[in-house]
């Protein structure tokens, strides 16, 4: 009787340590992924980071005289206005589906959807934090804050487990902020709809990132099969799985279309990301989608 708690605590400590060990690699991976973006088109645009100067532009009608940069204007005949970069920081709220369904991987050696979603989220966070934005997690656990220290808090805030299928949590999304939902959206879409409604009510815009495993896209099954959800709560038995493929794919397409419609209705972006491919295109899309809205 006395050994049980020990075992439990030992198991807990082990898991905690394992998780702790996995965090820095995840962070490092996220940093690395983020740095590939830095090297791209966006990196040049941000070459004056911290510098307030943005650009000189010819004065327009309606510019007040005090906005004119005389030092610049004195070098030419025209007058110029010195524009500053918009320094107002955005609040970006990330929601990474913690449900069990995300733990699925369709093939040996392929990352799970949860891993990929977390990686995308963290890499995005790295980019945004470097850009001076505030990043937090939905659900109110980790409120949006700037600074590199926020990374560790975000890491700690990313949880796992829970229900079979997750529902987006709109709590903690700052008004007029940005939000990113990373999930497989396999659960009831009503929850997604509700969360989107709440978020758009607050004026927040963002991205629905649909993370799918290639197996879910292809349905490469055949023969007599009992399908179970990751938690085992839902099951479906078929005698010839191959026959279901067409109908399954139709349903999946329908679901994607539904999500796209939902997102477009509230001014969000919808993106479908596959764990079979590299993470970079997904990150690129997310980053540009957030940036475009600015």
């Amino acid at each position: 009787m006395t050994e049980r708690p020990d075992l439990a605590t030992g198991g807990l400590r082990e898991r905690a340590e394992t998780l702790g060990q996995s965090l820095p690699p995840l962070l490092a991976e996220a940093e690395m992924l983020a740095s590939t973006i830095m090297m791209g088109e966006h990196g040049r645009r941000r070459a004056g980071q911290g510098d307030e100067f943005w650009q000189y532009r010819p004065t327009h009608l309606g510019d007040s005289a005090r906005m004119i940069d005389w030092r610049r204007s004195a070098r030419s005949d025209a007058t110029y206005v010195r524009e500053r970069e918009w320094q107002a920081a955005q609040s970006v709220t990330l929601w990474v589906d913690p449900a069990k369904s995300m733990a699925f991987s369709g093939a040996k050696g392929r990352v799970t959807k949860a891993d990929r979603a977390r990686l995308l989220a963290m890499a995005l966070a790295v980019l945004l934090l470097r850009g001076g934005e505030r990043v937090g997690l939905a659900g109110g656990g980790v409120p949006p804050r700037p600074g590199r220290g926020q990374m560790l808090r975000l890491l700690a805030g990313l949880t796992e487990g829970g229900e079979d299928y997750g529902t987006p949590d709109a709590n903690g999304i700052a008004s007029h902020g940005r939000a990113v939902f990373l999930s497989d959206f396999m659960g009831d879409l009503a929850g997604v709809e509700a969360a989107l409604a709440r978020a758009s009510d607050r004026g927040a815009r963002g991205v629905l990132c649909h993370v799918l495993d290639p197996a879910e896209e292809e349905f490469p099954f055949d023969g007599r099969t009992i399908f179970e959800s990751m938690g085992g709560t839902v099951r479906h038995e078929t005698l010839r799985a191959g026959d279901l493929r067409e109908r399954y794919l139709a349903r999946l397409a329908e679901r994607k279309a539904r999500l796209t419609t939902l997102a477009r209705a509230v001014g969000w972006h919808y993106h479908c990301h596959h764990t079979g491919g590299p993470a970079q295109p997904g990150l690129l899309y997310l980053f540009r989608a957030l940036e475009g809205g600015r």
Partner: protein
Amino acid sequence: MFMIGPIGFAAPWVLWALAALPVLWLILRAVPPAPIRRRFPGVALLLGLKDEDNETDRTPWWLLLLRMAAVGAAIVAFAGPILNPQAREPGTGPLLIVMDGGWADARDWPRRVDRAVALAEEAGRDGRVVAAIRLTDAPGEIVFQTADAWTGRLAALEPQAWLPADHAGWAAVLPDEGFETYWLSDGLDRPGQAALFEALAERGAVTVFQSPRPVLALHPAGFADGVVTVAASRLPAGEAAQVEVSARGPDPAGVERELARGVLDFGAGAGRAELALSLPPELRNRITRFEVVGQRSAGAVSLTDDSLKRRKVALIGGRDDAAEGLQLLSPTHYLRQALEPVAELIDGSLTDVLLANPDVIVLADVAVLTQAETDAVLGWLEGGGLLLRFAGPQVAASDVARMAEDPLMPVRLREGGRTVGGAMSWGEPKTLAPFPETSPFHGLAVTDEVAVTAQVMAQPDPELAERTIAALADGTPLVTRKAVGQGQVVLFHVTANAEWSSLPLSGLFVQMLERLAVSTRAAVPGAAELEGQIWVPEVLLNAYGQEVEAGEVAGVEGAALAGAIAEGPGAALPPGLYAGAERRVALNAVSGETELAAAVWPVGTPVEGMDVVPEQALKGWFLSAALVALMVDVLASLWLSGRLTGMARAAAVMLALMLVAVPGGVRAQETEVDPGEEALALEATTAVVLGHVLTGDARVDEVAEAGLRGLGERLWERTSIEPEAPIGVDIERDELAFFPFLYWPVTPGQQLPSGNAYRKLNDYLRTGGMILFDTRDSDVARAGGATPEGQHLQRIAAGLNIPPLEPVPQDHVLTRTFYLLQDFPGRHGGAPVWVEAAPPDAEQVEGMPFRNLNDGVTPVVIGGNDWAAAWAVDEMGVPMFPVGRGFAGERQREMANRFGINLIMHVLTGNYKSDQVHVPALLERLGQ
């Protein structure tokens, strides 16, 4: 035994289990394949979807059928199926096994014996008594005994080299009580066979076994018009066939070997075929036997006797015959006529013909020989020659052998000779007296047509009587003979032409020459020629056609031998070679007239082939089929349940291909382009690839490969040559043309290249390839010749077109193709390296640092510095072997690498660097 068609079952009751198959069908049909559990988040999208076809929860019918087949095959297998089971009704009463036992049985004697033993054992199991007879034996009492008593004796029976003849005798000794007969016949018909069959049939049922294999009989070879003809008969005369005949005899060294070979073409339906062999006399004289290749039977062997041989006879006449018109008076004219068809005649002076070592020298009326000639002829006589002399006017007039006996004359001669029956003399011409028994001419008929009118007379000496082998009716010697060493001198006391007697005109003259073995006759010797002599067998043939020593056997009368030659050999006169006084006669199992006739059995006689279809147990096949069906079932079940994915699918496909394509795969290798060859060609030609010759020593090959890999890496690093991974080259099989450079480590145990490989290697060297021979022994050897590797290199190089070599001269282009080098160390150093020698006219031109040396690339570089070991690096690029010590060692390794780079540069750029020396001159000429 329970039979279904040709298949019988050992345990037919097991087949009842087949009745359970429908039950199994129902059970299997009711149980669907087990489902797979899959974790799949997408299940949420599947909820509510119905299967289209509800029937599929049953196992599909073809899978059921497959399983049924597997189970059925297993059941049938355990029922012990046997194809063509031997089911024979057991007989009753005594059993007589009749075997022909002649040479015609020898071709499949073991099977006949097996058959007889099987019959005897079977009869023994039924409690019957058995007797076995061999018709080639002399008829004797037939005693029925238990089968046990016979089986051992049957196995020890051997066939005889002749055919059974005394059927009547056997019919006479048959016991009176009834018995059953199995006759193992050789398929040939013989007189009396039908009668014997009748006699046997009277006593009980007769079953005949007859082998379907053809009987081949080789007839004695004949010789006519310079061509040896060999004929053979066969039975049955079926489809067109070709039979090879081999002529065997001693070669000049005395070893028996095949001297000639020909093919007998049997046309379709033809029972006889002939073959004409044109052979040079030297070869023909040595033939001792003809045999059908691949046939073990006395009938397929034909011994040759003297009838094929042709003596070499030197004819030397005394007078120079000037006038053509006097040809009939020429002393050698009749001899020439008599001998030309049957002997090789040699003309020329005595000293000349002695060089040809003739068998016989005929001196027709030659009286005086010089001392040198006499000595030479005596020497030749001692060695076994036959000197045949004829008298004549010159002999009669000369003083030869007057007072003392001449060594080349058998007797002393009286002066002048005598003439009888002429116009100026008394008396009638003399006729011949019958030949005495001691004479070689004994048995020849004396005719009255021979008349002697003149002769030289012998002095009455003590030896005269025993030296006379033919005399006239009045007792005066006509032919005298004397032995000299192993040879003999024979003197005809008359001339060789018709001047003194009519002997040369008669047929007797030819026969006498034959008896003296001066000539031989092509035809089979007739009774007349054989009679009167005793013939002793020298070599006998057994039934399998093998020669056995005759041993001490009593000779046979010539008449008996003549009879045997006409009628075929028998127990008293087995086939073989019989030697008479002067010649040898072959008695063959098959004579020239032998005709093979198929045995005819009365209608209704059961005739079985020797080869009844053998029993074949099918249990293994059925079990294998069941196993294969179950394996297919495993794959099919996996496939059906969707578990056959990825690797499993690939494995399944491989397995299926293996099952299906095993027989086809063998043939695939016979196609024109070997896929492996093509792969090698692609691999070797897409980039520069260094090759090393596979020695068969795994360690050496490994080091060679690692060495070339290391050298390749150095080349990548330092030069524009970028070789791919080296390839081991099997010089016997692989194409060499793809490789600019071959490294050949020499091991003493290496097999010498075959002729084909040498041809390829020489082509390779001639067309610009280079081989670096490395004996790897310069640490223990100097000058390269003493070590086993060096000796083996000499053996290998003996077959190669290697130009003259010299140690690398100081100004060789190899010293400067990339690095400037003067030393070429490998793992060892200091030993000279040999390359193609510079042309002798190469001279150093004033102002040039180098000679203008040979234009091409040296085809070989030979050394013993074990370069591969110095170059060798492992997978990590770390040197595999230490070289030298410390920094100096590393320097040596570097030098070895530089040598390798220079060498490859030399191979690929030729004498480019040599031409570089002209660049300043060229630039100057261009005015720059």
